[in-house]
Amino acid sequence: MTRCEAEETMMSRGFTRRTALTAGAGLLAAPPLVRQANAQSQFDWKRFSGERIEVSLTANPRSTILIQNQREFEDMTGIRVGAEQIPEQQHRQKFAIEFASGRPSFDVVGISLHVNKRQVGKARWCTDIKALMADPTITAPDFDFADFGEGAVAYSTQADGRMDTLPEFTDYFILYYNKELLAAKNIAPPATFDEMYDSARRLTEPSRQIYGNVGRGLRNANVVLYSSFLLGTQQRDFLDGQRRLISDSPDAIWAGEFYKKLLRDCSPPGVSGFNWNESQTTFMQGRAAFWIDGVGFAAPLEDRTRSRVAGKVGYAVVPRGPAHHHCAMFGTAFGIAEQSRKKGASWLYLQWASGKANQLRYLTSGAGSPARTSAYRNEEAISQSRFSREFFNTLIESARISRPGLPEIVPVTEFRDTLGSALTATIGGADVATELRRATEAFRPVLEQSERES
């Protein structure tokens, strides 16, 4: 039936009472719709046209998406954007030094909340965006703040209630598994840590250079894997209610023992020097059955030009621990420099960067799990994605059980180095309790001093 034929059919049926009621209801609903439409049309995206802002981002697939689509923002607002993306470690140093200098070269900065949240909050380097959000003249009506997940908003909010960043991305640690290796031995994806270890033992065949597990063993990087196990214990956190360090408690030692046996008994030789990149290479080559790491690795694993396991990767939430079921969560967000003279233009950039369109791009391209919940509800986009339904379900389930994977403290890098060295030593055979006690004693005064200064 063509469109004209359909219109003729409707006309021939005449104007019925049902049609009149429908039309009436439509008229009653019209005012709010019209108001919203007017608000949309009245919002002036061009009010800062002609300004130029500088944006400093960490190099990752999400920043690449933003820079690739930057023209969209520039055309919509007339604001010119100078964006840079710098490798993670160097970017953290650069923005900290620039902020400390009092005259940062950027207006907008991407921040890893799991590393820099307390540092940025304590020094008040970024402006509180709550006032900007409350101003309808510079906040688009469709900004929809309620769309951001609760966890992401909590992550972006400082202890004093200031919200100095807008959530961008929440990284959940998930379990990647090699379906082919598991199927060959008729093994199901593990639901508990004990099952994971048992399966990994069965799957390990050093003579074939096949290992049940691969993961981060390198100092510093390994703490986020260890925390995935600690989150499953009764204790769950590195600090107690009084913010005292408890990384040598019985639960912490249990998590350390599990970490040790998983990496020592079921992982490739040399794993004590593995960061995510070595782990990814090993998993991509089909040499490991399990790998717990961030969600952002799905894209390279499913890349048929680089990965031997593309199409064979299974996704699951991190197994349940002896007391709780959680996955480690990390997050990034955008902040506006307190010293910026272009806060209005920068706020428009934040709205665009963490807007629904970009968040959906993150999800469907496999660049990471967005901080907005609407992206996960977009069935059409998800069904057209190259990633399996299992992947998206894993993300949704991970969001439900997630908890911060690192303590919110200023000297978090020093903490990771100190505890990480102890964990690396355990892979070499050192006693877990001794190493964790030594690391805890070494870091405790650092934390206490930092807490006093905060």
Partner: protein
Amino acid sequence: MAGSTATMEQQATVGATPRRRHNYARRYWWFVVPCGAVVLGTIVFPWAFTLYMSLHDFKLGGGREWVGHANYVKLVTDERFLYSILRTLYFTALSVVIPMVLGLLAALAFHRKFPLRGLARTVFILPMMATPVAVALVWTMMFHPQLGVLNWLLQQVGLPPSMWVYAPDTVIPTLVMVEVWHWTPLVMLILLGGLASLPLDPYEAAKIDGASAWQAFRHITLPLLAPFLVVALIIRTIDALKAFDTIYVITQGGPGTASETINIFLYLQAFAYYNLGYASAVVVVFFAIIILLAMVLLWTRARVKDA
């Protein structure tokens, strides 16, 4: 009278000369000011400020508090720092001695005439031209215990695989291997230049006297080449002491702290933990170590010259 006048004038002239010279020097003294300002701004001030910071508890994004010599006291008891000194000395010793020996052998080989010598020399010095970070990334891939080409090569000749940089016992020797591959050509170039400048007469005399090749090398080549060896030694020692990029890219100081040299420790304190006061104290101590080593090397050089 005329004679006495002339003598007086001469005396006056002679007497005036030092004063004029003095004025002359004073006027030209201002020409030193720009250079002095640059030296003050780029060497003296940073050093004075580093010393000043080393006496403070100074954290990026936080306050600055006078702590006196507390940072130095902490260094003396900081096991991680003390081990980093030992590792630095271990790494430096290997990274100097091995390239010196190999560079000398290579220089002797390339000093002889043989077909395609120019091409062989060019190929030999290629590693030196590569960017250290790029080189380090390539080596990292080759070191992978399961997927790296080095273990594959070992297996091809029936040797067991090595853990390379992925085990605490082998990480420093492996990093030295990269350093040797990268910088032996530099030593070779310095010594090759030295060999080319040696006189031929002593060799002819030694040949007439019936000296063997080893005797000629031991008693003629080595003593004459000694100044060049010392130059190569000083350059290699400075390079090895300041090695950072290769180690950071390949291991970041790991596994654990097994390859954490002073430079890596310093970098982490300053730019990962933002403990600028403590890091400044590390710089001062490291500077003292370098001064000590430099004095030993200069003393060696002076002895070689005297000999």
